[in-house]
């Protein structure tokens, strides 16, 4: 297990000799692959960053770092889940991305789903293409009328001979413009209760009847899409897992994803806090007691996030399952981030009226490590990234309901 021990120099976490040997290997790779004096992905401008991500993804794929835990027979790295956590941690620490933005859904969600639930043919067909980037998978879960209450979804899939026929609408599909394929949840049994009767389906983005339209966000950038399905026909073999058991497939991924997040979030948020401290210095506000107080508050939160991460990873490595701490994680970082982003724009003072420099390289969580301390980065993080964090992937209200009802054992809210 991970040895969490209290010693003279404080708590240390190691993930065992094999994982640490792998860490050394990754570090050597990163030293060789990145230019001397690499300031971080965030230091690039938007065009450079987009280009870099594509090239960097190729380098990662060539070295077996995409699909690290997937079986070798499908082109994966055949390594352990602990190694995946080590890899994610080292990539964030080296200030490089793990792929393009859409790999959050393509590799982390769809790839892992196929490995866990896919048929032999589905694995052989899609996994190598996901690794190479030939296929880019985007997610179609939410619907206009089904957000927090996702299980009420109504995209309709009707069996017609050897095909499914899809009609309905999905929304909030991140990176929808670049996706070649969509994994989606559709209702395949109208008579079954809410989260039964749902199937997990694979749809080519270019299938006739699929209409993908970008949605512009409040910062004026098109980051997600709505997807309309009109008599879209896909082969009957496009179901992942059992028919009507898609809910189980969709919710089975949390383990690995939360384990990786637990290891990487503290590094991201620490890098961001370092930028906020630098901003306070630049603005000459480090003597301001209110600013000092708030910076100390942020520091304590990021440190707690780090130890919370250690606990989650330790538990995951030990038992292969998530402990109760994992449920706290999403609520914790997303609520923290709103305060941190608010502090940053307040430090900018009236300067925050002026938009200068590049905008964030992504619209979720922090701007990338190495990002410049310009106003545009912080304005958008404040208006969009930080605020959206308490909404996507389960709102803070839903997270609190889960904590109250499953961890504290409180009576269920009437629904």
């Amino acid at each position: 297990m991970a040895a969490a021990r209290i010693g003279g120099s404080g708590m240390q976490l190691t993930l065992g000799p094999e994982a640490e040997a792998f860490r050394a290997q990754v570090r050597t790779f990163l030293e060789r692959a990145l230019p001397t004096g690499w300031a971080g992905f965030g230091a690039l401008d938007r065009d450079e960053a987009a280009e870099f991500a594509i090239e960097w993804r190729k380098v990662l794929a060539e070295h077996g770092y995409i699909g690290l835990t997937w079986p070798k027979e499908y082109g994966g790295g055949g390594r352990s889940k602990v190694d995946q956590i080590v890899l994610s941690e080292e990539l964030v620490r080296a200030r490089v991305p793990f792929g393009i933005l859409a790999d959050t859904t393509s590799v982390k969600m769809m790839g892992n789903t196929l490995v866990r639930w896919g048929t032999e043919e589905q694995k052989r067909t899609h996994i190598p293409r996901i690794i190479s980037g030939e296929e880019i998978w985007v997610q179609g879960y939410s619907e206009p009328q089904s957000g927090s209450d996702l299980a009420s979804l109504s995209l309709n899939a009707v069996r017609d001979g050897d095909e499914w026929v899809l009609n309905g609408q999905k929304i909030w599909t991140s990176s929808g413009m670049v996706g070649t394929h969509i994994f989606t949840l559709a209702r395949t049994d109208l008579d079954a209760p809410n989260n039964h009767g749902i199937s997990f389906l694979m749809v080519p983005a270019n299938a006739p009847g699929v209409d993908i339209r970008p949605i512009t966000t409040l910062t004026g950038v098109a980051e997600f899409c709505e997807v309309f399905y009109t008599d879209v026909r896909i082969p009957a073999t496009s179901v992942v897992g059992e028919v009507n058991e898609g809910w189980k497939v969709a919710t089975s991924l949390l383990g690995l994803e939360r384990g990786e997040e637990a290891a990487t979030n503290p590094i991201w948020f620490r890098a961001e806090l370092d930028r906020i401290v630098a901003l306070a210095r630049e603005r000459g506000l480090t003597d301001d007691p209110v600013v000092r107080n708030k910076l100390a508050w942020c520091y304590s939160k990021v440190e707690i996030m780090r130890y919370l991460g250690y606990r989650i990873v330790t538990q995951y490595v030990k038992d292969g399952a998530l402990g109760p701490e994992a449920s706290i994680s999403k609520l914790y970082w997303s609520e923290y981030h709103q305060e941190a982003a608010q502090l940053a724009v307040h430090l900018l003072g009236a300067r925050a009226m002026v938009r200068e420099g590049r905008r964030p390289l992504r619209f979720f969580r922090t701007d990338e490590p190495g990002a410049p301390n310009n106003t545009n980065s912080w304005i958008d993080v404040f208006l969009l990234n930080a605020r959206a964090g308490t909404v996507y992937a389960g709102t803070s209200q839903i997270q609190r309901n889960i904590l109250g009802e499953t961890m504290l054992g409180l009576p269920r809210e009437p629904r």
Binding site: S142, Q145, S146, G147, S148, D149, S152, I171, W172, I215, T216, T217, L218, G220, R283, G284, D288, V290, Q338, H346, G349, A350, R351, A352, M353, V354, R355, I379, L383, L384, R387, A388, T390, V391, Y392, T395, S396, Q397, R400, N401, E413, R415
Partner: protein, 320 residues
């Protein structure tokens, strides 16, 4: 002003501030007989102007002419047509100061400079004085989070020997006016934000119920409403008293309440609140920018605290 007249004026202002087209607000108000209305009850008239401006989210510049008017009443008549440049910060070292006989300006104007004459607050040992006079300047749209407002970034230089100076009380009066006017406007926007979010939570259903029936959202919106009502009361009192301290407290409360109302409303909207298509972002972006004029709430919070500590005196606000 009696209630009936007030309701009538409110309705006229809604029409004036919602009017499409290029006609200046001053021209539209003149048609309404604004000067006569102000002569009868200036406090109520001005308060209503900024309240309705916030309510209908108008981008018209109502503040600039009022501030220039203060400068003109305290100093040379040319001030009425000169453009006021607000410093980027009111708390830290002012951006404008006299060095080697010249004044370097970097700030924000509420409208594009019309003539080559600026009004600039300049820090000095006796407080902030206003320099009015010719300037060599460059200007560009500020854009920022709310390009509709038409704010302008102005960088300029003025020769100290060529300017007319107005002593500190004029600037203090302008700050107080700016703060109470913005406080009223911010409170009105925040009120609109909460009301729209309440409307949405009544219509949006999840788990077979309106989401507004869940206490998690009810409490957020109720708390936002309480802050907005409190801020609005203090803002109106600041307009009535014309007092600088009350205006500072009002601007602080309104900025904070408006930002908080946006946060609570956005959380209630969920993902739709992050889209350009939904109306909410217009209020959010407006609040963000207006809060930063004449001191953001976080800066004012510190200033209020420091003043209380320094003076050892807790001033009473109106009848509160």
């Amino acid at each position: 002003m009696d209630r009936e007249t007030e309701a009538l004026l409110r309705s006229s202002l809604r029409a004036v501030l919602s009017e499409p087209g290029e006609r200046s607000l001053e021209a539209r108000l003149a048609e309404l007989g604004w000067d006569d209305v102000v002569a009868v009850d200036g406090v109520t008239a001005r308060s209503l102007l900024f309240e309705v401006k916030g309510e209908v989210l108008s981008a018209a510049d109502a503040l600039g002419p009022m501030l220039s008017g203060i400068a003109a009443s305290e100093g040379p008549a040319q001030a009425a047509s000169a453009t006021l440049v607000l410093p980027m910060s009111l708390r830290e070292t002012p951006d404008c100061s006299v060095v080697d006989g010249s004044i370097t300006v970097d700030g924000v104007a509420l409208q594009p400079p019309g003539v080559d004459s600026l009004i600039v607050p300049v820090a000095g040992p006796g407080g902030v004085r206003l320099a009015i006079g010719p300037a060599r300047f460059g200007s560009s749209p500020l854009g920022g989070t709310d390009p509709d407002l038409g704010l302008v970034r102005v960088t300029a230089s003025m020769v100290a020997a060529e300017v007319t100076w107005i002593e500190a009380q004029a600037w203090e009066a302008m700050v107080a006016t700016g703060r109470y006017a913005l406080a009223i406007e911010l409170s009105a926007i925040a009120d609109r934000v909460v009301a729209n979010a309440v409307g949405y939570t009544k219509e949006r259903h999840q788990y077979g119920r309106p989401i507004g029936s869940f206490q998690a959202l009810q409490h957020r919106l109720a708390a936002a409403h309480a802050s907005v009502v409190g801020a609005g009361n203090v803002a109106r009192e600041a307009a009535r008293s014309g007092d600088g301290w009350t205006a500072m407290v009002a601007k602080y409360l309104a900025g904070r309440a408006a930002e908080g109302a946006c946060t609570q409303a956005q959380q209630s909207y969920g993902a739709i609140g992050f889209t350009w298509e939904h109306d909410f972002h217009r209020s959010l972006r407006r609040v963000y920018l207006l809060d930063r004029l004449f001191g953001g709430w976080r800066e004012l919070e510190v200033e209020i605290g420091e003043t209380l500590h320094r003076t050892g005196n807790v001033p009473k606000i109106g009848h509160l």
